[in-house]
Symmetry: C2
Subunit: 343 residues, 2 copies
Amino acid sequence: MSALLDQGRTMCTPLLRQAVGRLAAPMDTIAAYHLGWIDRDGRPARAAGGKAVRPALALLSAEAVGGDASAGVPGGVAVELVHNFSLLHDDVMDGDEFRRHRATAWAVFGVAQAVLVGDALLALGIEVLLEAPQTTQVSASDAIRAVNVITSATRRLIDGQAQDLTFELREHVTVEECLEMEGNKTAALLAGACTIGAVLAGADAKTSEALGRYGHHVGLAFQSVDDLLGIWGAPEATGKPHRSDLRRHKKSLPVAAALADGGTASRRLAQLLADSKDLTDEDEEHLDVRADLIEQAGGRAWAQNEARHQYAAALDALDEIPMPDTVRQHFVAFADFVVVRET
Amino acid sequence: MSALLDQGRTMCTPLLRQAVGRLAAPMDTIAAYHLGWIDRDGRPARAAGGKAVRPALALLSAEAVGGDASAGVPGGVAVELVHNFSLLHDDVMDGDEFRRHRATAWAVFGVAQAVLVGDALLALGIEVLLEAPQTTQVSASDAIRAVNVITSATRRLIDGQAQDLTFELREHVTVEECLEMEGNKTAALLAGACTIGAVLAGADAKTSEALGRYGHHVGLAFQSVDDLLGIWGAPEATGKPHRSDLRRHKKSLPVAAALADGGTASRRLAQLLADSKDLTDEDEEHLDVRADLIEQAGGRAWAQNEARHQYAAALDALDEIPMPDTVRQHFVAFADFVVVRET
């Protein structure tokens, strides 16, 4: 797994740095801070700048169709730029002050700059793909298909964020609504990462569609696990406050599933949520009670089962298409990694 | 002039409405409010939703190269979407509460929604161009060239906004820096509008380049006039507060030119600006004194002259390429309209 991530980072970072370096000051600096390359004073940092799973998947998808990993580089960089556009803007919208154990860009540089740098990264993502035919073996028509992949993933990601914001204002969200939102907000861009390298390497529709389905299911598994970590994860591991999703009344999968259960614990949970809906919860004890009720109402087990179910569906999608054994093993290892984070 | 704008609106509005209608709730409603189609309670409005000059120019540019105006429609819609993305985000960044005599989207729906809807309009702009080959006679390769036009204009627009934000924190900005910023922030997208229809209609490089130069110079003329209106314009006409640019210490062209003059009035102005740089000016009398000093130091005349100079350069660019007489007359009338706004 770490070899796969290292390859993604090693091969994509030069183009990523070159692209970010084109931004007008001070956007280049702010993007470099957000990406973990420098600290807030501009000194080189060795912060954890995210695992860069999307670039790794993009390269792997090029190799899946017999292409060289390098064909996937513009796709990996584009997906990483779009992913970071969404992180920058989500942190503004959600008012999150910390990400990856560091102050978020808006908290350091202000809302205006964080919005603007996000905009710039989105536009850069498209630009990098449009340039691919000049700098690589990628054909113009494959580059366009890749722009299509990134644009539809971006649109779905934005739709998902709109749904997520709406859910925060609602008292009740069904499991189906929650899954649809997560399919847009998280799975669409992961599916894009698993498709874009293959598209740049000239994949046919059947292959890129199956890779996209693998990415979609892995993305949903990833989000189920993320939802579990948002309630039961250790702050040292997540880089977020303890019980962070409960603190902000997030309608995540375990909560939606627990509320759908309808039993005693489920009804007590619903009552607690209704009573505290206007509070910002800082009281650890209340949050612990809520976490226990979600578990008693089956929300934790439901989300664990959902992660396993999506994991299996991801592997089924992989089985539909031929690819080199080593590539398949990497895709399987990635799915394993996503589900294992749970523990 | 109004016939030209009417044609742009009439031909582009159906596709624009269709594109906006694809957004997940509540983004569709917020975009419709921002575009002046509905009021804040969702009732149909007949607000002035902007003049839609960019769609009109996009259609005209298709006609300039012998194409049908309809070939320019996806380009006109894309440019209008990107323009409105930038308005939504600029209003957030600048904290502006009013635009076109109405409360801005963030002031009504909150910062998070305004940022998100802006993101959505940018992505939609690309999407509309990518779809053009399926719905129109536009070839795939021309659609890609159009995506290129919109992406580079967007990147420059974002660079320009970064420069503008930086200038607000600086005590002094040169005329050259100001012109470069305005070239990015305003002229790049107008140049894109004047190019994109031609590109979609299959224009050669020389023609689209000349149309782009026309748009660039018209854009700079437009911005010179806008800078004049920001100091001397009537609030009824601009929809903004009296002396709005002075109120917010904007380093616009007349100010930069006045400060560069170095005479008595220029030095008094510099002193006044230095003394009041941390104040939010609500005192009309102080603003009037400042406007008078800018005029005495030649800043008003300089910007008027700059507008005329850019107007002439725009017409020179037009003269380099053949086009139907009626199309040329429309381009000239548009340049006239831009400069005449001054009075």
